[in-house]
Symmetry: C2
């Protein structure tokens, strides 16, 4: 049965597709002008946006959401300005479309060009944070794509207002306002309707918790760019320098525990643990970290509780850590093979042979030698902005900037060539 | 309920995954040696292979398969030698892995490298042709991937023998024989089991007819590289040169009508048709092409039957063609938007503005100006070999050579960097 939600969502997706055609032939300058216009409009309407945000906050307090959640949801004049500046930054980035990746001429004279072009329509399915509404729209438009936004219901009033303001911003620009579509229905059927709209939507990008991402991956026939669940490991090898190992581990665990590139399990070489356990215990205690360890870890670390099978797969996103003790780098690699999510994995070691094995055999988007996993981030790596961090292998892997929102066309120019 | 087929297929996929780890650390030379060893083994065992093939041919004749099908199925000593030479050619191509696509150093000294690596395990689901068994295996191994092969049941004896011989060929090489897995069960459940094995299989590549491809696309949670259904169009613009237009059209229709880059619909500008209909009619008749036209086409072309709605979407793969008459390039583009399969589309025109619109607005892997659609082919474009032609937009689009079978890793080397 076709529901009202499906019909509405389809109508919006069709509008987005139509607008994407206009978008695809605009110049870089025209797109940049539009991004600046949206940015200005957002800044000019900060009070309106905060008013709408207040409605979400009232609902959120009534629902008793946690503090961290409310913090991500709540906007201020400064945060709204950051949204606008984010758009201006995206405007300043290189246009990822129209780039000739390679060109050659066949013996018969046929000229072949492989050129980057927009994907078309991007479907963004995300949870609470209203900044995603602005960031994703900026990246989509800059790369010549329309966007269909489906945000979480807890930010619905903020998102609705932000989208309204962004569309107003497009009024005197060459980008049609239909290039931004916001799905206002909070019915799950509205989200599900996006999953199979292959004709109108070119790619779905889910951003949020594991269950949201799995729902999209398992049910969508539209191609998906899978983002972000990070069960990241740091392996401390026998030869690791103590201070370096502990400094990296503490940074990766405590700098921002709730993000996907934070470490969740530390794998420690048995010999290293025996030699340096005092320093490790002290650092864990000073930073208030709760340890879930295997048998050897529990014996070595006071206050550690025994890890259950589920702990090895857990993305704690808080000051908890699982500790596994191993006999060598191969055992560490095998543990990561079983429990890792192919996001970011680090080895701390002075043994270059072990480092080489780790780099080659661990299957993940980002591998680190003697550095914190926290660098897996478009901003930190100098991409300028990111639409998410891909944990899949096709199309884009790791932090995804503007190029991830493009595809290619082979353009052939001939003078009557036949085979 | 878990069936016996699922269990067996999973066991094979796990073996393939394990072998892929060994494969991923081999040198280019080691991989090339193994490809040559397989090639030699295939050539040495041509009689065995033909004997197995004869069993398939007997079954095929009993089942009353068409001649074209039997032709694709049947092997000769020469064809078997071509298989071997194909493998030697793949050995001669550049290794697509280990290529540093970009590298840079952050201000804090962290060195970042974006390096190409194998995907891991490739699941190949294909129909009758036994050459795919060899070609796909060669491309997978060269790019450092294991392969799980699921061929059509009509070629089962040929494929089984070919795989057996290829595995024998690996005996004294560094590639483990488990890197090649052949699913011998002809139960559909065995194929379906591959669809959801995300842990063990990194990508599925379906090659064959539309229904096979759709079954994979609609049911797989493993990422899919969608290949090949081509409902290709040639648009003959008002300004098209007559001889060129007709020569290109006839080539695209008659050179090899059964392949995906053959043309299925010609869209003709009304004015051009009125001016040049005699030449067009003569060419169609001389080449024995049956026409399914819209109203104007039926009026203009003797013997044409009226096209049904289904004709516009039909991949005839034979000497039939649909003919649509339009008033301008925009109408042509809109027709392709509705019925095209994003494969190969051509415009024959001397009007560069119309050409530009066509190139920008038509959403397809390959766009042609004044040339035949038949060039959408890895061999013809100089890729050396292809695993299929992608009609999707993510990861790889158009003919897919060795690089399509790789992904990237970010490899970071630090000296204790934290955020």
């Amino acid at each position: 049965m076709i529901t009202k939600e499906q019909t509405n969502v389809e109508a919006q997706a069709i509008q987005a597709k139509k607008a994407s055609k206009t978008l695809s032939i605009l110049t870089t300058e025209e797109k940049n002008k539009a991004l600046h216009a949206i940015a200005d409009q957002i800044e000019a309407n900060w009070e309106e946006i905060l008013k709408a945000n207040e409605l979400d906050l009232i609902k959120g307090r009534e629902a008793g959401y946690e503090e961290a959640f409310m913090d991500r949801l709540s906007l201020t004049k400064e945060r709204v300005s950051e949204f606008a500046n984010g758009l201006r930054e995206v405007a300043s980035l290189d246009d990822p479309t129209g780039i000739v990746q390679s060109d050659w001429t066949l013996d018969n004279g046929l000229q072949v060009q492989k050129v980057t072009v927009p994907l078309g329509v991007i479907g963004m399915i995300y949870e609470a944070r209203p900044n995603v509404t602005v960031d994703a729209t900026g990246l989509a438009l800059k790369s010549g794509n329309s966007i269909v936004l489906k945000g979480g219901s807890s930010a619905i009033e903020s998102n609705k207002k932000i989208v309204e303001v962004m569309k107003e911003g497009l009024l005197n620009t060459r980008i049609p306002k239909d290039a931004i579509q916001f799905i206002a229905s909070t019915d799950r059927k509205a989200t599900n309707a996006l999953f199979t709209m292959k004709e109108h939507i070119d790619v779905l990008i889910p951003r949020g918790g594991g269950s949201l991402i799995q729902a999209v991956v398992n049910n969508a026939t539209v191609p998906v760019l899978e983002t972000g669940v990070g069960n990241c490991h740091i392996y401390i090898d026998e030869s690791a320098e103590v201070d370096q190992a502990i400094s990296i581990l503490m940074n990766a665990k405590t700098d921002r525990p709730a993000v996907c590139n934070a470490v969740e399990t530390v794998i420690v070489h048995e010999t290293w643990l025996n030699a340096h356990k005092e320093a490790l215990i002290q650092a864990l205690q000073e930073n208030g970290i709760s340890v879930h360890g295997d048998k050897l870890a529990v014996e070595a670390i006071p206050g550690a509780t025994e890890a259950k099978e589920a702990d090895w797969a857990e993305e704690y996103l808080s000051k908890h850590i699982a500790v596994k003790v191993v006999a060598d780098v191969i055992e560490a690699i095998e543990h990561i093979e079983v429990y890792g999510t192919k996001h970011s994995e680090a080895i701390i070691s002075e043994d270059l042979q072990n480092v080489d094995l780790f780099m080659k055999l661990v299957d993940a988007a980002a591998l680190y030698h003697n550095a914190s996993t926290r660098f897996t981030d478009g901003g930190a790596l100098g991409f300028g902005a990111e639409i998410g961090i891909s944990t899949q292998k096709l199309h884009a892997r790791g932090p995804m900037g503007l190029p991830a929102l493009t595809t290619i066309k082979f353009q052939m120019k001939g003078t009557g060539q036949v085979r």
